[in-house]
């Protein structure tokens, strides 16, 4: 993260969170920007994971919803035939 370009900005933070971040920065002997930057990075990563997971689960639902039990069996690799059709083949 230290290799990334740093920019200055002004934001408003909840007082309690800022207090906790300052406390953490002192305890770790790093500056406040490092602590806030790390927290933001983790939070954004979690958000991306949540969105990706939600998108995957949604595509799963669309892939399997609305099929009958027999059809789902087919989608699971089991290919049954109607017995009458099998007899006709002989």
């Amino acid at each position: 993260m230290s290799a990334q370009r740093q920019v200055r900005t002004t934001i408003s933070l909840p007082a309690a969170s800022l207090k906790e971040a300052k406390h953490l920065a002192r305890a770790r002997n790093v500056n406040l920007s490092t602590v806030v930057g790390e927290a933001l990075s983790v939070s954004l990563q979690n958000q991306r994971t949540r969105e990706r997971t939600s998108s995957i689960l949604d595509s799963y639902r669309r892939a399997f919803a609305g099929f009958s039990e027999d059809e789902l069996m087919l989608l699971d690799g089991i290919v049954p035939e109607e017995p009458t059709r099998s007899r006709k083949k002989k």
Binding site: S59, A63, G77, V79, P80, E82, P83
Partner: protein, 180 residues
Amino acid sequence: MLNPASGPFLFDTSAEGWFKRSDAAASKQWLDSYLRHHPMHIASMTVFERVRGYAVLWRSATPDRKAWIEAARIAYLQDPGHVWPVDTGIAVIAGEISAMLPHPPTTVKRTHRMTESRQERLARWRVDIVIAATSLASGMLLLHNNAADFEAIRGAVEREPLRFPKLGPLQLMRCASAIS
């Protein structure tokens, strides 16, 4: 319960379907947690089985339903996860297992009006062997819903470990056990 974070795991075709279709809160929660840590790992044979299923349904469907089935197929292929190809190592392991267990350990599947043919059953057995070989080659635990078949393969691998050097045991877990 199997810790979802301790993966990744390989999902057999039946397990993939079970987790993706389940409405039970526990399995949904487990899958959600798993996907936050790892992609779903599947063998390429699972894609083969699944796509064949969609294709068979599509071929016998009415025009309206064809479009719907195609949409479901596209949704399935949108993000299948990490798909393991059948490479030389996996083919060698599968060949060894297939020679030891040439016949399926369980009988054909039946529904109230349909029956799986013997040929189809044998084909499905060989697919299961390739999936088990993928699990052995990757070292990943295999989640499944097909205890009889995979336990037979695990037993065979344990009986003749010299045919599977530096591999095994085949690690198995049933879906229901994973979430409880």
